[in-house]
Symmetry: C2
Subunit: 393 residues, 2 copies
C-alpha cells in the first residue's frame, strides 16, 4: 500500500534527535542529551498512597469517561497554584491536557493556517518547532540575549510581520538555553503583543524549578486583555510519565479549545488526574519542589565548575537560575562534528542545530544536568573536554 | 483579545450533543443518550492491585518519560490479543494511543488535506465526523443495511470518487446503529479498498463485547498488502477513563505515525500503560469480558422487549449482537422534536441527526443500554413510548 499523506505529515522519515537519544541510550554512554528529570526524586511512595486512596474512594468514577477539560477539583488546585505564581484565573479558564506537549499541539492547530508567521525565540524547544511546522507555520526567530527575548527585536518583528499569528516564548530557564526573561521585559513583551493584538503563548514547564535568584511572575500575570495563553506542566515538578499539563486562557479561547481537545482524546486520563489531585491534597508540593531544586542546583553548579575547569578558555555558557539545561558555545567548532567525536568517547549532548528555527549558531549545544549523578557529570564533562581538544586541534 | 483561528477550528461554538448529554446529566433524567460502560463492572480491586504492584516493582520507571509508541510489553500483549482476534501482527506495527479517539484524530491528520473525500457508513460515529471535518474532509456516506456497509455501494462510490482519501468503517456493533458487517462483506470490502489503493480505517472499539452470534475476524485479518489501519481500545473491555487504545498498521505508515504521535503528546500515560499490562498478566481478560457481555446481553434484550411491547407497531430497530447501542426508527416522527418532549418526561437519547454526515434519516435515534439498570430501562422506555404517542397524536 502506498499511502498519500496530507501536507501535515513531515516529508522526512529520519529524526536526528531521536537518533541521538537512541545512541545515548547505550549504557556505556554518559548522556547530557535528554531532558529527563532525576527519577530518584520521584515521590513513588506518596504516589502509590494517593493511588490507593483514589481506588478506595472513587474506584468506579476514575475509570469512567470524564469531563473534556479535566477533573474540576484538579482544575481548582491548578487555579490555586497559578495564584501562588501571581496569576488570577478561574476553573473555566483552566484545561488539563495530556502533557504540555498536547497544549502546544492544540494551540498550534487552533491558530496556524499554512503560511502563517509564528515568532519564537531562536533557538527554542525543538518539539514546538516540529509542531508549528507541521501545521505549515513559517517560524521567524526573535533575537534573545541572557535576559531573554529582546523587546526591541520583537517590536521590529511585529512591525515587519503585522500578520503574525502568535508569539511563542519560554520565559523561564528556556529550553535549550537555560536563560530567563527579566520582569521588565515580561511586562514590555505582553504590552507589545496586546498592542499588536497578537496572541502570546507562554510555555512554562520549568518555572517552579528555580534554585537561584527570585521568582518572577508568569507573562500571564501582566495580561490585561486575554492576550496570553499560558501553558505549564506537572512533568518537571512531579513526574513526566503521567503526561499531565495544563493551559490557562481567556473564555472565548477556551470555548474553541474544548472542541479540539475533545477531538484529540476526549479527555486526559481520569485515573491519573485523580491521583495527582489526591497527591496535591496530601503532600506539600513546595517541599517536594525544594528537594528537586536542591539536587538540581548542586548538579548545575558542579557541571558549570567542570566546564570552567576543563573546557577551553574561549567557551561561553549560560548561567541558568533553574530548570535543567546549560547552553554552551565553543567557538571554532562544529557541534555536529563534535558530537560524532563525543559519541566515540561515550558522551552525548544535543547539538544546537536541532533547536534553531532559522540560522544555526555554530559551535552551540545543549547540556542537561538533571539526570546525571556527580561522577557522571565529572567524567562526562572531562570526556567532552578531550573531544573538544581533538576537534580544535 | 480577538483571536484569528485557523481553518481547522469549527466555526460554531454550540455543541448539540454536549447539550443533550448535559441535559441528561440531571439525576431526574433517565439517559439512554451517552455511550458509557456500566461502571459497576469496572474491576476496581484488580486495578488497584495492579497499580500497587507497578509502584512496588517499577515505581521510578513508570513516572519517567517513555517510548512514543508505547510500553513494549503492553504492545506485545496487544499483538497477542490481535492474534486471538485473527490478526497476525508484530510489536513495531502496534502503537498505544491516548484512547482510540487519538488514533482517529491522528489518522485524519495524516491523510486528509482540505477538500479530500472520505467515505463512511452513514450514520456513523459523530466524533469521527467532527474530526474528519476539522481537517477539511468532505464526507460521503456509503449505503449500509443490517449486514453493514454494502460492497456494491462502496464500489460505486470508489468509482465515482477515485481520489477518495480513505474509507472509515466500524464493522462490529456499529455506533450508532449496532449493526455488524458480515464476514463475506469484510473480505469484499478489503478487496475493493486494496484494488482502489484506498486505505481502509477499521474502528473496532466494541468487537470483543459480543453477546450473541459468533465472532467475526477484523477487516485487518483479510488485509494482504497493508491497506487496513485497525484501531481498537481498552475503553469498553476494561475502562474508558484510562484513555488507552491502540492502532495497528503497516510499517511505512508507522514511521510517519510516530512523528505525529510524538508531536501530539510525546507518549501515552506511562503509569497507566504499566497498570494495564500488569492487569492483563494477572486477570483473565476473557473472563472479565464474559461478565460484561452477560450483563449487556440482558440489558439489550430487556430494552428490545420493552420497545416491542410499548412503542407503536410501526417502529423499526436494529438487532445488535453486541456493543452498547440500538438504532430505532419511528416513522412519522421528527427525532429532534421527540427529544424535546422526552426531556420534559425526564428521558433522553441522541437523535439520528447527530450521526449523519449527509442526509438525515428522519425519525431515527440511538439508544444506549449499557449504563442503565433494569428498572431504569423499563421506566425510560415507557416514558419514551408516551412521548412518541404525544408526538404522533
Amino acid at each position: 500500500m502506498k499511502f498519500r499523506y496530507s501536507e501535515s505529515v513531515p516529508k522526512r522519515t529520519d529524526n536526528p534527535t531521536a537518533a541521538i537519544l537512541k545512541a545515548a541510550a547505550d549504557p556505556q554512554v554518559i548522556s547530557f542529551g535528554g531532558g529527563l528529570p532525576a527519577p530518584e526524586l520521584f515521590p513513588v511512595a506518596e504516589m502509590k498512597a494517593a493511588c490507593d486512596r483514589v481506588f478506595d474512594h472513587n474506584g468506579q468514577q476514575v475509570l469512567q469517561y470524564a469531563e473534556t477539560l479535566g477533573y474540576p477539583k484538579l482544575r481548582r488546585q491548578i487555579v490555586d497554584m497559578m495564584q501562588k505564581r501571581g496569576v488570577q484565573t478561574d476553573v473555566p479558564n483552566v484545561a488539563v491536557v495530556t502533557g504540555s506537549q498536547q497544549a502546544i499541539d492544540l494551540v498550534g492547530r487552533m491558530l496556524i493556517n499554512p503560511g502563517d508567521i509564528v515568532l519564537t525565540e531562536d533557538p527554542t524547544y525543538l518539539a514546538a518547532i516540529d509542531v508549528f511546522k507541521t501545521y505549515g507555520a513559517h517560524l521567524v526567530g526573535v533575537e534573545m540575549d541572557e535576559a531573554g527575548m529582546r523587546p526591541e527585536a520583537l517590536a521590529q518583528a511585529l512591525e515587519r510581520y503585522p500578520e503574525t499569528k502568535f508569539i511563542y516564548t519560554i520565559p523561564n530557564f528556556q529550553n535549550p538555553t537555560g536563560r530567563t526573561m527579566t520582569a521588565d521585559r515580561r511586562a514590555q513583551i505582553v504590552k507589545l503583543a496586546a498592542q499588536a493584538q497578537v496572541p502570546l503563548v507562554e510555555d512554562d514547564p520549568y518555572g517552579a524549578i528555580r534554585y537561584a535568584g527570585t521568582n518572577l511572575p508568569p507573562l500571564k500575570h501582566y495580561d490585561q486583555d486575554g492576550t496570553v495563553i499560558s501553558i505549564s506542566s506537572f512533568s518537571k515538578i512531579l513526574a513526566p510519565g503521567l503526561r499531565m499539563g495544563w493551559l490557562v486562557a481567556e473564555q472565548s479561547f477556551m470555548e474553541k479549545f474544548v472542541q479540539l481537545k475533545q477531538n484529540a482524546d476526549l479527555h486526559t486520563d481520569n485515573l491519573t488526574q485523580y491521583i495527582v489531585a489526591d497527591f496535591l491534597d496530601n503532600v506539600d508540593l513546595d517541599q517536594h519542589i525544594k528537594k528537586i531544586t536542591d539536587v538540581y542546583r548542586h548538579r548545575a553548579e558542579l557541571m558549570l565548575s567542570q566546564i570552567d575547569q576543563y573546557f577551553p578558555a574561549s567557551v561561553r555558557h549560560s548561567q541558568p537560575e533553574g530548570g535543567m539545561f546549560i547552553w554552551v558555545e565553543v567557538p571554532g567548532t562544529d557541534a555536529d562534528e563534535l558530537l560524532k567525536v563525543c559519541l566515540k568517547n561515550n558522551v552525548a549532548f544535543v547539538p544546537g542545530s536541532a533547536f534553531f528555527a532559522g540560522k544555526v549558531q555554530p559551535g552551540t549545544f545543549r547540556l542537561n544536568f538533571s539526570n546525571m549523578d556527580d561522577e557522571q557529570i565529572r567524567t562526562g564533562i572531562q570526556r567532552m573536554a578531550k573531544a573538544i581538544q581533538t576537534v580544535l586541534a
